[in-house]
């Protein structure tokens, strides 16, 4: 495991950190920086995962470790126009806009006007001491499941989205966060660290999308923590549409309290090597959790989805639906674990993973797992792998529809279960369009 390359890259990041620190001036004594420093210390002693790690057995991260990335904080600033932003925003509806370039907040391109006074939507760096106290309680609290990448994220976390919803607040408009990444001058490492705190009875819809500035090779290494307090209703849409050469590693930690409802959508389109980790802790009774996932991959794309749902308390329900469409030499992975602890009686947990293979060279790996320690539960998982229904395909052809459109229609229909529950109508339409286009641009 201790291959020399691996050590090199760690040393490189440690040096990068020193450079980063030297630029910080007064801020180096701040709370945030103390977090960074402790994360770096842990990072120094932690190995990057290898294929021998059960959780990484299908994903080889060698291409990432073999590339020299420059942390965004140390790299040259990139010029971004409003045109770049508009191109990648999902429009047609009102939203609060946050734009980050290479993981660093851009005030000019963002628009938070009209935000209710008691709601905080900021980037980490903007907090005053008073606000920080509030954030401290939660920020970067979950560390147990951290791997080397997550520690690296924390060490270089300069900016990120923080959304704090006080009790009884309903945010009418969604928040759309756009992470634009890429650089002409070097291979950049973006480390966004997001925190969403939803108070009691609060409601919000949050869209976080990762989009490319150009087709350069870069690395997004993101972590998002979501806390939903009692009765909170949170819809979280994560859209990953990175460049073809980009690496994307993302961890989302969701903690839910009594009667809260969190729906998480994880939609993966782009990226050369993508890893999505979602960990959910149902830490109280009567919680509802929905995880929806869709991954479209072609060429040599590699998309690895990991989910873990921890039913720690009784009377909760979780629903999980992941669908994959794989073409060319793409590889899609789904590994979903449901843990029902001893106390979590009356748990309902359902998980389904379906994949379609469109080429002879695409590969699917599925690992749905149930770990159950309570007896009065209803749990099930299902996994299927297959190809498009040839009878349906023939039927559409016989109605005079050309072959490629027929296939796109079938795939769109296959993906529909995941797209349909999206509550923002305009977003749903645009995503549907994006799926069709994504498929259409490739030759089947």
């Amino acid at each position: 495991m201790n291959n020399p390359k691996n050590i090199d890259i760690k040393e490189k990041f440690v040096k990068d950190f020193e450079l980063f620190e030297s630029k910080l001036n007064g801020e180096s004594k701040s709370y945030l920086h103390s977090l960074r420093k402790s994360a770096l210390e842990k990072f120094k002693t932690t190995e990057f995962p290898t294929l021998k790690d059960e959780e990484w057995r299908y994903t080889n991260i060698k291409p990432i470790l073999e590339t020299e990335f420059i942390p965004a904080v140390n790299s040259a600033p990139v010029k971004v126009t409003t045109g770049d932003v508009e191109k990648h925003l999902y429009g047609g509806f009102d939203f609060y806009k946050m734009v980050f370039v290479n993981g660093i907040f851009n005030t000019e391109l963002s628009d938070l006007s009209g935000l209710p006074a008691n709601v905080t939507v900021k980037n980490i760096n903007q907090f005053n001491n008073e606000e920080l106290d509030k954030v401290k309680e939660y920020f970067a609290k979950i560390e147990e499941s951290d791997n080397a990448f997550n520690m690296l994220n924390k060490a270089f976390a300069y900016d990120g989205t923080v959304i704090i919803l006080p009790d009884n607040t309903v945010l009418e408009k969604p928040v759309q966060v756009l992470y634009l990444t890429g650089s002409d001058t070097g291979q950049v490492l973006s480390s966004p660290r997001n925190l969403i705190l939803a108070g009691k009875n609060s409601q919000a819809k949050i869209i976080i999308s990762y989009q490319p500035l150009n087709d350069s090779k870069y690395f997004t290494n993101a972590v998002t923590d979501v806390y939903a307090d009692e009765n909170a209703i949170i819809d979280f849409y994560k859209i990953q549409n990175e460049s073809e050469k980009a690496f994307h590693i993302d961890k989302i930690e969701i903690t839910q309290k009594s009667k809260s409802v969190v729906s998480n959508f994880s939609l993966s389109f782009g990226g050369a090597l993508v890893r999505n980790d979602i960990n959910v802790l149902l830490d109280d009774e009567y919680i509802e959790n929905h995880l929806y996932g869709l991954y479209l991959a072609t060429d040599t794309q590699h998309v690895d989805n990991h989910t873990f749902i921890d039913h720690a308390k009784p009377n909760c329900e979780s629903n999980e639906l992941y669908k994959g469409i794989l073409d060319e030499k793409a590889r899609g992975i789904f590994s979903g674990k449901i843990l029902v602890r001893k106390d979590a009686q009356k748990t309902n947990a359902f998980q389904s993973n379906k994949s379609v293979l469109l080429s002879d060279t695409a590969v699917v790996d599925a690992k749905p797992q149930l770990e159950i320690y309570a007896d009065d539960v209803k749990c099930s998982h299902g996994a299927t792998v297959g190809q498009l229904d040839m009878t349906a395909y023939f039927y559409i052809l016989s109605r005079g529809i050309p072959s490629d459109l027929a296939k796109s229609m079938l795939i769109r229909a296959f993906a529909n279960d995941v797209i349909e529950p999206i509550k923002i109508k305009e977003l749903k339409e645009q995503l549907n369009h994006q799926i069709l286009q994504h498929l259409h641009s490739k030759d089947f």
């Binding site: 059960e54 797992q369 309570a374 539960v377 299902g382």
Partner: protein, 485 residues
């Protein structure tokens, strides 16, 4: 359900879960013992005692040397005290090495043991039409129906005899499906296997009877390392049964068997197991460690079917697998795994589809009670060239107490777009409404649960040969019956 009803049920539960392991007793027979521990000298001595040819000794030594470089696997979801491999006696055999023509010559005490176990050899000879090659500890003591089988050209003998009499077959196939490099316990087994069964069915022959072997661990501190090799030549058929009970002991005993099946073109092998090693007592003390490697290779149009009923052992770690190498070959796996008290089972299968039009079916039923842990772990792998491969898997778990665990860890790896793979798993507890319904029909809770569990396992039991199905249901009743209220 009314409160008093529940307490009645609880009583039934207690009565039944208190029932002791029925097959626990020890036979006093003089034994030849090796000193404890393992080294090259022990292996040479073992090979010498068994009058093995040079190539066999070398093979064992190669396996041993490889084993030394390996580490004990820790990925199964089981916890147990690690085995001290230097604290095991690697060979023990009844001193009077029996070479009997008929049962009369066999040590009467030994025969008595078999009778206690419910294996009346003579009766079986007459009634059941089953040829039994019973392994008492490590040396085979009785072989029946040899003549009937010999007429058809079928070879059914202890593997130690096969090494001497049919070296060309053993040489060709031993280790061809499970090489000694395969895993830690397979390597250990290859180095020190004491005995086991060897079956060869010639071309186009349908074996006229079910072949069966009863294994039994006796002799304190003797690990058993069985090696079974079954070769079904082109167009042949054989059904093989394996069942076991072991005496009650306080110390953990290791059982690391290797079973290799080879089904050549158009052949079919049906391998059924009822496993009832000593599971340890109610406090989780003692019991057998059962670390088994079972694998079958299917050539063109061949079929291998594994059926297992696992009720015993303290720790089970077993994945009967099929390599579907030939086109149109079929693999099946039917399993019932029952765990109670502190038992732990991590079992499942691997279906590796390599040939075109290969099909596999997996039906696994796990039942956990007491404080046990029951895991299904399986792999379905469709290789790139396995056109039109088809797999269906179903893994259901039933929980009979709130202190046990049921887990499913399936791995699905698909590399061909024409493959259709389905996997389904459910976990739930015994339906209280069903129990209530049966109760009001005058059926006791104990019988009701038995009926429900039997129904739950029906799909698997129907795959078992008749005489085994009966035994399996009895075993299920003993292991579980009424563990819920």
């Amino acid at each position: 359900m009314a409160e008093e009803h529940k307490s009645d049920d609880m009583k039934v539960v207690e009565d039944l879960t208190n029932s002791e392991y029925k097959w626990g007793f020890v036979t006093d027979i003089e034994e030849v013992k090796f000193p404890k521990g393992l080294n090259e000298d022990i292996i040479r001595k073992l090979s010498e005692v068994k009058k093995e040819p040079e190539w066999m000794t070398e093979w064992r030594l190669k396996a041993y040397r490889h084993w030394l470089t390996m580490e004990e696997p820790d990925w199964p979801k089981v916890k147990y005290d690690k085995v001290d491999f230097q604290d095991i006696i690697y060979y023990s055999a009844p001193k009077k090495k029996p070479q009997y023509e008929s049962l009369d010559e066999v040590d009467p005490q030994l025969l008595e043991t078999f009778e206690k176990l419910g294996i009346p050899l003579e009766e079986q000879k007459l009634l059941a039409g089953v040829a039994v090659d019973a392994v008492f500890d490590s040396v085979s003591v009785a072989t029946t129906f040899q003549e009937t089988l010999a007429e058809k050209g079928i070879i059914f003998c202890p593997i130690s005899e096969a090494i001497q009499n049919h070296p060309e077959l053993v040489k060709k196939y031993l280790g061809s499906v499970v090489p000694y490099t395969d895993n830690f316990y397979a390597a250990l087994n290859s180095a020190v296997f004491s005995d086991g069964s060897f079956v060869y069915i010639p071309k186009g022959v349908r074996c006229p009877m079910e072949l069966s072997t009863y294994f039994r661990i006796n002799a304190m501190n003797t690990g058993q390392f069985e090696r079974t090799l079954i070769i079904a030549d082109e167009g042949s058929y054989v059904s093989y049964l394996e069942g076991c009970t072991a005496p009650m002991r306080d110390e953990n005993q290791l059982h690391a068997a290797v079973v290799e099946l080879i089904a050549l073109d158009n052949a079919e092998i049906k391998y059924s197991t009822v496993q009832n090693w000593y599971p340890g007592d109610k406090e989780g003390k003692g019991g057998i460690y059962n670390f088994v490697t079972k694998r079958g290779l299917c050539k063109t149009n061949a079929k291998i079917s594994w059926t297992q009923v696992e009720t015993g052992s303290a720790v089970t770690w077993k994945y009967p697998s099929c390599i579907l190498q030939g086109d149109n070959s079929i693999g099946e796996f039917y399993s019932v795994a029952v765990t109670n008290n502190f038992q732990q089972a991590d079992t499942g299968t691997k279906m590796v589809h390599i040939g075109k039009n290969t099909r596999s079916t997996i039906v696994s039923k796990g039942i956990s009670a007491g404080r046990s842990d029951n895991s299904y772990r399986g792999l379905v792998k469709i290789h790139k060239n396995a056109e039109n491969a088809r797999n269906f898997s179903q893994c259901d778990s039933m929980l009979l107490s709130d202190t046990c665990g049921a887990h499913t860890f399936p791995y699905i790896e698909v590399g061909n777009k024409t493959a259709v793979v389905e996997h389904e798993a459910t976990t739930s507890k015994v339906n209280e409404e069903q129990i209530f319904y049966l109760n009001q029909r005058g059926i006791s809770t104990e019988d009701a649960v038995n009926m429900i569990v039997n129904g739950f396992c029906k799909e698997v039991f129907k795959e078992l040969p008749m005489e085994f199905a009966v035994e399996a249901q009895k075993l299920l009743a003993i292991s579980l019956e009424g563990s819920v209220g």
